[in-house]
Homo-oligomer: 352 residues x 2
């Protein structure tokens, strides 16, 4: 039985408390209903403008406050703030206070939908990096054809990466996959414009050579974009610019395709009737590919669990991010990675 | 009435003549059946190892040779060849001979599924660039939610691009969209990890400033990956590394989703029955998203039409690439772009 405390940056994202508070309520209500067999309990620290948070709590008739504590913040990190500004001038932001709670051991994980660059800079400053890691990367799991999942990193924390950083991503992705999914020897690929060794930039070929030298990483080679969802790889490494665009394009494409399939059944009364009969199957499909379900990426490489929720996340997506935080807090992901990193110390020295 | 001649690099791609020859036969057979109202005729120049080509022609009982001419090549450009090697040492390759036919006015367009880097280098050497353009870019149209399409470039010809090259892509994409789709003032976006002006690398912010200065380009701003398929933009500019990975990831995701939806209807006899009834609608959907349909990207910026087919293209996909070549040859795309480039000369000087 564990008691997990999650610190929430209630002001982050496009919608702030109007999304974060209902998501917290949903998680708590569902836990009360379900009474998890493990006996685990979860409570929340809410960081933000108390006036806004209170107003949202009242609207939702969120009266039982035994599982939440409120913490006033005096600044908001805006989506347009430069990371350096957020770091230097916004020392009482909801984002920063939530991260400090993790640093001080008062919370086990932090969830924020705020400015990604700022979250990375502040996390790095407040929580510090695991030994041997330069900067956090954003990592998330995506579904694959073979029913397993694939971890893709970096998804936007580092728009420019040298070959050493890419090799560090390979180590971290490898360790996360082993720790969370119990995969013994994840297959690791490096995203490129072709599988052939001569393809891509010099930096990428250098990264391939570095990753290839790592003893504990089963490096397969360059992998092309169309293989991300194939299930042939468990970890795919790329720079944050490419990863971010690949991930968001996939989200956009999923939405587009859901619209298209809806449209295909709306042409006339007959197709509408079949659509009605096919609804349970279509809903199953819809649920499986819904990007909201995959919301909640991890800022990996830090000494604490930080989950980044999508800036435009709705309540359902935010619930998924919170559940991911609870899972990683329970699993003590940073400790596992740290332990693995220590045993992989020789690897790290090679790529620093 | 026009007589269009297409030069085919029969040896390119993963499957060579076993895919290119059936595709040519399909296009010719269909044209004979359809008798196009325009009275346009199409014939083909087949470049490759004659022994292989003849063997394939015999297997297919391709006896009427009035619409095809065969041209022996002595080298093959391999998928693993460095572009510089293909350029210097393979002067009698099927790829090169097909391009020379376009250069010499014997063919109106060339189709190749060969090594992208080599195709770019050889095209550039043989056909030369349009005035004011440094290097070709690969551009292709993708479907969008709003029934229109969006042109994405570069898709892999230039893995690293400086700000000036990105601005040239904006001009070319803009002109292609105006010329082919008749869009008066295409909305142009620059792919980035966020819409805010401070996002992304310095190079990208410099590119945004350059594109913003172009008189004839309606530059909207940074665009995120999830907006590619939204229909809000008609042209999206990015470097070849990102574009290639976004495109291929989209192809991989489409295939993955088609599998998933098939699976959703295969759970039991009832879902299979509904699946049977829903088949016409599902096929409509499948056809719309089939990546094969969008095969046939253009190497834009050259003085001739060069269509790049996917290395792993099957017969259907190759047919689509050939049809794209016929369309662009008929529409005289390079002349249109050239005319537009001349009128946009002042734009070009600004970004060189």
């Amino acid at each position: 039985m564990a008691n997990i405390t999650i610190a929430i940056d209630c002001m982050g994202g496009d919608f702030g408390p109007s999304v974060t508070i209902p998501a917290i309520k949903y998680v708590l209500d569902n836990r009360t209903k379900e009474k998890p067999a493990t006996g685990d309990t979860v409570d929340f620290q809410l960081f933000g403008q108390l006036e806004n948070i209170e107003s949202e709590l009242n609207t939702l008739k969120f009266n039982d406050r035994t599982k939440i504590s409120l913490h006033q913040s005096d600044d908001d990190v805006l989506m347009t703030d430069k990371p350096s500004l957020a770091l230097k001038n916004k020392k009482s932001s909801s984002m920063r206070l939530a991260l400090e709670s993790v640093r001080d051991g008062r919370a086990h994980a932090c969830v924020s939908a705020g400015n990604t660059g700022a979250l990375m800079a502040v996390s790095r400053f407040v929580l510090k990096m695991l030994p041997g890691i330069d900067r956090p990367a954003i990592i998330s799991a995506l579904p694959t054809s073979k029913n397993g999942q694939v971890y893709l990193l970096d998804l936007g924390a580092n728009v420019e990466c040298n070959e050493k950083r890419l090799a560090q991503f390979a180590i971290m992705g490898n360790e996360l996959c082993k720790g969370l999914d119990g995969v013994n020897s994840p297959k690791v690929g490096l995203l490129n414009v072709g599988e052939e060794e001569i393809k891509g930039s010099q930096k990428l070929r250098q990264a391939a050579a570095l990753i290839n030298k790592l003893d504990d990483v089963e490096y397969i080679g360059f992998v092309e974009g169309n293989q991300i969802f194939s299930g042939d790889y468990q970890v795919i490494v790329t720079d944050g610019f490419t990863g971010n665009n690949v991930l968001k394009a996939s989200e956009g494409l999923s939405e587009f395709l859901l619209e298209k399939i809806k449209h295909a059944f709306q042409r006339n009364w007959w197709t509408k009737l079949i659509g009605l009969l096919a609804k349970p199957m279509l809903n199953l499909f819809k649920d499986e590919i819904n990007p909201e379900r995959y919301n909640g990426a991890c800022l990996i490489g830090l000494r604490g669990v930080v989950i980044k929720s999508h800036g435009s996340a709705n309540v359902h997506a935010t619930v998924c991010a919170i559940e991911e935080a609870i899972l990683q807090a329970k699993q003590k992901v940073p400790s596992k990675i740290r332990a693995s990193l220590e045993s992989a110390q020789i690897n790290l020295q090679r790529v620093q």
